[in-house]
Amino acid sequence: MRLSPDKAAAEPSTTAGLSRRVVLAGLVTAYTASLIPWALAESAPDVDRGNFLILSALIAGREGLDNELAIRYYDALLENDEGFPAAVSAILTLVNQHRIDPLKLQAFLDESRPELAAVPRRIATAWFLGVVESVDGARVLAYEEALNAQLVSDVLMPPSYCYGGYGSWAQEPGKGSVDG
């Protein structure tokens, strides 16, 4: 897997690897370790991007995140907020210290750390909707590839894409598609 930084200073990979391991070692306990896409995070060229991938995986609830999208989202989120990497790192530290379930993360931050509360929501909006807020208004970085389209793509097409041949929508949609 490749994750090339658009803007981050090019670091020799060995240095990047070292610093990443140092930071991750400081952050992670067995609890978060079980949730983290290690392979993905370790492929990141620097610690900040690695942290972003880890927090993204926790929020998105899946390890298999699109690498190209990760680059685009990270660059856009960083452009909008230079404190973004530090906030991501702080949130990961909290998740680790307090063993916060992703489902409770937003409520925890809203309650205890309001200065960080906007960050998971921005990351979630990026992955689930493909939209990143920026100083000049929001931008769409993904539509068909946004997770909310991908998570239902066995049954639905994103609106504006043809469903299929004429009348294909009259058929019963696939079985086993929803929890009981």
């Binding site: 929001a138 894409y161 929508w169």
Partner: protein, 543 residues
Amino acid sequence: MAEELSADFVVVGSGICGALVAMVLAQRGASVIMLEAGPRVERAQLVANFRNSPRRSDWMSPYPFSPWAPHPVYRPEDNEHLVQAGPYPYPAEYIRMVGGSTWHWAALAWRNVPNDMRMHSLYGVGVDWPFDYDELDPYYQWAEELMGVAGDGDEHPESPRSQPYPMEPVAEPWAMRRIRERLAGTYRVASNPVARNSRTFDRRPACCGSNNCQPICPVDAQYHGGIAAAAAEAAGVRLISSAVVYKLEHDSQDRIVAAHYYDPERNSYRVTGGTFVVAANGIETPRLLLMSTSDRFPSGIANRTDMVGRHLMDHPSTSLTFDADEDLWLGRGPQSPSSISALRDGPFREDYSGYRLDFTNISRVDSTTQRLLLEGVYGPEFERRLRHSAAREMSVKTVLEVLPRPENRIALSSRKDALGLPRPQAHYDIDTYTRRGAENALWHFRRIAELMGGSNLRFSDENAFANNQHICGTTSMGEDPNISVCDGWGRTHDHDNLFLVGTGVLPTAGTANSTLTAVAVALRSVDAMLPAEQGSAAEQRGS
């Protein structure tokens, strides 16, 4: 001026009604100039704008905003083009662009029921129309054939017809089939008549089920005013875009002699003609008439009895959203396929409003995503809840009638737009007649939920009426000039050569989305503007 702008007919507005009127006039041999305030925009651009919009659920967001021809925009902030005077908000939406507001619609092509046009004599409320349903039937047919309406007459006995729909109904989405089957025996759920192709028609393809009727059909399977405007130009109409008509000029005999317009740089032009047709929608038409003041008409053109802008009507909606007990997966096929018509008419209309019950087939994916993001639902639970709501959530809404009341009106604000023209101002309220209709619907909402095994019932707030952008009544037809602006042919009472077309001329709103009726009435008006050589156009159609 380098060039004299003059024609037999000058049409103000290139939306579906203005464009089709212009087209027929040109086909009958007249010279026609059509003036459109907004710009030309291509469909592919609108589709791209939609996909790139960070506010996809705001269906106005793909449509370009022109500072010289502003239309209301409410998100992310209200631009206050339509000033609200209250007491109830009237956040109408429309599009100022070549082709007008039907670029963005669900293509519902309902006919009125005959009694919609006899409300006063039958039920003692509202007004009677200056003509009856039977007289409109051939013009409905003509409109349906121009627009390409798919429907099944047998499913709609409430609106009799002498000839079949031009196309069979569009294939029924699975979700609507299940709703129809589970409600059978209690409610008859019928397919909506729609200006949407169920086969190749008029060189446009059949629907491909992209579930994007609003804000923009990506393949033109759905008819819209842009198609009408193109047909008008093909028939020889000269269309001038970005031409903001701000004044109609009259002579000493009260005949209209010219329309004055600004280009985006506020250079003024004068267009002369023999007959003038204003087709600028239910808000911009009265605005133009009210702006066109003179010593002789200090309150505006066609407004001697102070009726211009009054009798504003729309179709407010209340709704129930719930989770069915089976997977339906809304979002496959067109957005608005099915309805219940049983409550559109009856003696109860003496007391409360009739209504249609519409089932939506709009994908729940984006709305659920927004809700889950707001709730901060992350991790594997997000996927579980998204799929649950996308599969199970369904919604039914009322389409309620509003009575014509003079105090509901479009007036001029003291505030100005970018060209210095007064903004339109809405005075609006939802009366007890309509509110009682909404209350009556609650029982049916609950019954429908019960039949669908519904849980997690979410009723719209009892004082929250969603607007449907069916702007009617503001330049009403009628025989009595004291309560109307134009006669049954759309000819203004005050000016022989000034006609009005569009939803504004409809004297009552009924429970039918207003476009098809407005087009049918407009086509009928063409026969008064310029009769076909033999008989009426509707009689000649197809000959």
